[in-house]
Structures are given as C-alpha cells and as structure tokens.
C-alpha cells in the first residue's frame, strides 16, 4: 500500500490544528485534562456546582433558613422539593448547601492533601532520622482519638463555624494520606531520574514537587478525593455532634436534619434524596476528572 495524497493532506490538516491549539494560552495540564471526554464532563459538572454555589442567592428562590412555609410539605410548584419539618424550602437549602459542601470539601480536601504530601513525601524521600521523626507524627496522627479530639478542638479553637470545621477535619485527616504517600515515594526515590535531578542541583523540595509528584499524581488525586469526600461527610457528622454551626446549610446537615426530621416516616423522599444525590454527583464529577488525571502522570496515555 502506498501513501495516497489524501493521507498526506489529513496530516497537514492535523498540523495546522495543532498549531491553533498551541497558540491558545491554556496551561498544559488543562489541555491534557480537557481532551479526555469523561474528564471534560467532570470538569463541566464541577464548574456547574461552583457556579451554583457562587450564584446561590440568585438561583435559590428563598433564603435557606427562611422558615415561613408550611412544615413537612411534599414537592409543589412553589417548593420543588418540598419543605422541611421547620418549614424551610428544601430546594433553596440544596442550592445554598452547595456552597458549604464545596468549600468544606475542597478546602479541607486540599489542605489535608497538602499536609499529607508535605509530611509523607518528605519523610519517604529523606528517610533516616527525618523519616523516623515525621513517621512518629504520622503515626500519632493516625491513632489520635478523633471523636474526642474534635470535641476538644471545637471547645478551644478560637475560630468557629466553617473555619473550625475545616481545621478539625484537616487536623484529623491528614495522617492517612501521609502514610500512603510515604510508602509510595519510597519506591520512586531510587529511580535514576531522581538522582539525575540531584545532579542538576535541584533542592529536595523541588525534586519532590517537580520530579516525584507528577509521577504520583493519580495517587494524590485519589487521596484528595478521599479527603474531600471525608470532609463533606465529617462536616455533616460534626453538625450532628453539635460542633458545627447549626445555621450553616450544607448537604450534610440537610441529610442529617432530613433523617432527624422524620423525612423517612413522613415519606418526604425529595428532602431525603436530593442532598444525597447532590453529594454523590459532586464526587462523581471528581471521579470523571480522574479519567483524565491518568494522562498527567503517565504521558503514554496522553495519546488516546
């Protein structure tokens, strides 16, 4: 088979398309993620959630804590998802809840992932005494009694509300990730290219951040997803323990209040299902993005 002019033509077309691509000033990682169809859907979903959260006051028909409606009503034109046992509009709560849940999930997720990375990677990379000392703290972090620690933190922390929740979740949540990352880096640190980076004069921090981290992005992303999910769940749990600000509206507190408010017994399915579904969708958007993350840490996969 010989090459026909058409194939050459299509190749030329490709080249111009690529040039156009390169001229747009998007960061490389974004392009890589965007190319993956599933990842794109995930990013769009997440963006939608963020838009909803930001524009909550515009989108939500009522205030989240406005309790002037009939209690425990089923879905209607005025209240798409019905009302709570206290006469608040479930739909409005769902919209506003996106804010808290996103903030808590993302911020606490990011914070604990960062701490986990900083500690775990340093420990695993440096080994020796540093490792022993950091591992000591990681192990402590793993075994501190979480429940009472949360109560104690809530009792003494100077900040209250969302900030407190984020602190509590971060403080109690980083150790696991640190442990896993430490284990992983131990196998990566002996690669020749890491030694090469040392020859290039890179600092330890830089080697970790720029040589090692890109190779374990997928692991980090899994860790982040876990942390974010955990944070969103913990936020609800904290509210349940009375450590949260009961006035904040989040999907977690909604779920809690729905089940406490007898949504099951009075058959208010919309109230019970909506926040759970929203939560699952949010995490699903992360998972969808995960499909694109593969390609970040493994360049071979960028081609399909």
């Amino acid at each position: 088979m010989t090459t026909t002019p058409e194939t050459i033509d299509t190749e030329a077309l490709r080249v111009t398309a690529l040039d156009a691509d390169a001229s747009s000033r998007l960061p490389g990682w974004f392009v890589i993620l965007w190319r993956n169809g599933k990842c794109r859907v995930g990013m769009l979903m997440l963006a939608a959630f963020i838009v909803i959260a930001v524009l909550a006051p515009v989108i939500a028909p009522y205030g989240p804590r406005l309790d002037e409606f009939g209690a425990s009503e089923g879905p209607s034109a005025a209240h798409w998802l019905g009302t709570t046992a206290r006469g608040e509009d479930v739909f409005s709560q769902l919209i506003y809840g996106a804010r808290t849940s996103l903030i808590v999930g993302l911020v606490a997720g990011v914070l604990s992932t960062l701490i986990a990375m900083a500690v775990g990677l340093t420990a695993g990379y440096l080994r020796g005494v540093v490792d022993e000392v950091l591992s000591f703290f990681i192990n402590l972090g793993l075994v501190v009694p979480v429940l009472p620690l949360m109560i104690v933190l809530a009792g003494y922390a100077p900040v209250k509300g969302l900030g407190l929740i984020i602190i509590v979740i971060t403080v109690t949540g980083w150790a696991y990730g640190a442990r896993i990352k430490r284990a992983q880096i131990i196998t990566l640190r002996t690669r020749d290219y890491i030694t090469a980076a040392k020859f290039a004069g890179d600092s330890t921090a830089r080697i970790i951040a720029f040589e090692i981290v890109p190779n374990m992005i997928s692991l980090i992303v899994v860790g982040f997803m876990g942390a974010a999910l955990g944070a969103i769940g913990a936020e609800a749990g904290l509210a349940f323990l009375g450590l949260g600000d009961p006035q904040t509206v989040s999907w977690g507190t909604m779920l809690n209040q729905a089940s406490l408010g007898g949504a099951l017994t009075t058959g208010q399915w919309a109230w019970l299902v909506a926040p759970g579904l929203a939560l699952a969708l949010l995490i699903t958007s992360f998972t969808l993005m995960n499909f694109g993350i593969d390609a970040l840490s493994n360049p071979h996969l960028r081609e399909d």
């Binding site: 000591f136 192990n139 402590l140 075994v143 977690g252 493994n298 996969l301």
Partner: protein, 331 residues
C-alpha cells in the same frame, strides 16, 4: 540489630505519646462523667437533681483531682491490663464490655473490610486492565456513584426497603431478641441474617477507595516497560494484568489496608450505630459521649496498638513485597 533496636525505640516512643494523648484528650473535653451520665438518662428537658449527681460521683469515684496521679494509675492499668470498671456500664468491667463486643466487630467489620479490599482491588484492576472501555466506566463511575452515597442515608434506605418494607432481613441488632449468643447453628444463622444488611451497606461503600486507588496505580504500572515485555512474551493478558500490573500496583494499597484493618474500630461507629450492632464502635461512641474514661482509654489503646502494629507490619512486609525499597541507601 541496631536497626531493630531503633525501630523498636521509635515504636515505643510513639506508643507512649499516643497513649498519653489518649489520656489527655478525653479529659480536656468540657463536662464531667457523672453529669454526662445523668444527661443521657434524663434528656435535656429535665432539671438535674444535685443529690443524684452527688451519688453518682461517689459511685464512680470520679477522680476530679490530681491529673498526674490519674495518669500514673492509667499507665499502671495499661501495663497490667486491668482497665477498671466502665462508668457507663457500671459495675461491669471494661474488659468484660470489650470482650463481649469485640467478636462482633471483628467478624462483621473485619470480614467486610477484607472483602471490600478484595473486591475493590479486583474491580480496580479490572477497570485499569480495560482502561477507557465501557467496563472501566461502569466500574469506576458506578462504584463512585453508589459508593459515595452518604453512609447513614444508604443504610437507612436499606433498612427501610429490606427490613421494614419487604421484611427480608431484621432491622438491626447482632441477633434476634429470641436467641442468645452461643455456638449453636440456630444462633449462628440468626446472627448471619442480622449481619447481611450492615455487611451489604459496608460492601457498597467500602470498595470505592480501593477501586480508584488500584485503578490509578495499575494504569501506571501497565504502561511500564516490563508490562510491554510481558505482552511480547505472549503472557495471557489476564496474567500480565495480575503479575505485572496488579502485583506492583497493589503495593501502595497494602499500607492503606493495613491501617484500615488496624483502625477497624474507628470506622465502625456509624454502621454499628445505625444497625444497632453490638460491636466496639457503638461502645466507643457511648464511651465518648458519656465521658466513660476507663472504657474510652481501653478502646483507644486498642486502636493505638492496632494501628501502630499494622503500620509496623506494613512497613516490614513492604520490604518483602517491593524489593526496590530494600535497595542500599543512596543520598
């Protein structure tokens, strides 16, 4: 040899620090045990009777004094294994409470954790093996969607549908009201029936983390040169996936699994509460909310030792599983 001495030294130091935290943190919480117990009994809308409070304090011998001597006693208790009498189950001892709850947790949660890990790892490996195919999407997306449904919500739903509405399974508890724990066939099958729903709930939400973790790792390893050589060697695809992809990809998860096993207790609070399961998790929650220091301390000690040991073992086995980490030291 020195290596082991050092490891053991750090292990003990960690243990001591953790044990001290276990002692301090509960005591930093506001409120006192007698009050907490009374509150549980009466609820928030009944006035507290001071005489009653006084009697309970006397009964528990609540040490409201010298923290240092309490600490000393506590260290002694750890060394001798005499954890004393539980406040919230007075006059039963902590040991009695824990030993009656432990098997339940071990069986239900231990088994489901292992199953979760096994299922999660297998599904994750399968997804990676069929990367970007429909199988991958179904496994990853499906499991995320189901697996991230809030646990208590899912659990309630299960109870509502399968226990209350369909009446297929009991609505909670470790065994029926009619039987009592023994090694008879009747009881075992009864206990099994009771464990189905909580196990299902755990198995729906449990594997997700392992799935995604395994998938991501394995996508990575399958892209390595040795996997390509394996393909060239004509190894069956499944075999490549297992011994070349999964075998190496599973390594980071091993640590995670060890910790998960070690911290069995912490993860069981929710499931045991909702399903009314007679395990350690519920005990823990109760101990914490009742400020039952003796029980709390013993339970935390369990977790501490569990996690630390699991960690230690994970570290040691890691060397066996991944020879690369054994590589002689380089700077």
């Amino acid at each position: 040899m020195l290596y082991f001495v050092r490891r053991a030294g750090f292990f003990l130091a960690t243990l001591w620090a953790a044990v001290t935290l276990n002692f301090l943190i509960p005591r930093l919480q506001p409120g006192d045990p007698a009050q907490a117990m009374l509150n549980r009994l009466q609820g928030e809308t009944t006035a507290v009777n001071p005489a009653q409070l006084e009697a309970i304090r006397k009964l528990l011998g609540t040490p409201d004094g010298n923290l240092l001597s309490q600490y000393w006693d506590y260290l002694g208790a750890i060394c001798t294994g005499h954890f004393g009498v539980s406040y919230s189950y007075f006059p039963y001892t902590v040991t009695a409470m824990i030993s009656s709850a432990l098997p339940w947790t071990l069986i239900l949660v231990g088994v489901t954790q292992m199953l979760s890990f096994a299922i999660g790892t297998l599904l994750g490996a399968w997804a990676a093996y069929r990367r970007n195919s429909r199988v991958d999407s179904v496994i990853t997306l499906g499991s995320t969607f189901v697996g991230t449904l809030p646990f208590f919500w899912l659990a309630l739903l299960l109870i509502f549908v399968f226990a209350i509405t369909l009446n297929w399974f009991p609505d909670g508890g470790g065994y029926g009201g009619g039987s009592s724990p023994s090694w008879t066939w009747l009881f075992v099958s009864d206990a099994f029936q009771h464990s189905v729903l909580p196990a299902v709930a755990l198995l729906i939400t449990g594997p997700i983390g392992w799935i995604i973790g395994m998938r991501n790792n394995m996508v990575q390893t399958l892209g390595e040169d040795y996997a390509r050589l394996a393909r060239a060697k004509g190894l069956p695809r499944r075999r490549i996936a297992l011994t070349y992809g999964a075998r190496i990809a599973i390594l980071p998860n091993v640590t995670g699994f060890a910790i998960a096993l070690g911290s069995l207790l912490g993860g069981t609070v929710l499931v045991e509460t909702i399903f009314n399961y007679p395990g350690l998790g519920r005990l823990l929650l109760e101990a914490v909310s009742n400020k039952d220091y003796p029980l709390m301390q013993a339970l935390f000690l369990f977790t501490t030792i569990g996690v630390l040991t699991a960690n230690f073992l994970a570290d040691v086995t890691y060397g066996f599983l991944d020879p690369r980490v054994r590589r002689a030291e380089a700077v």
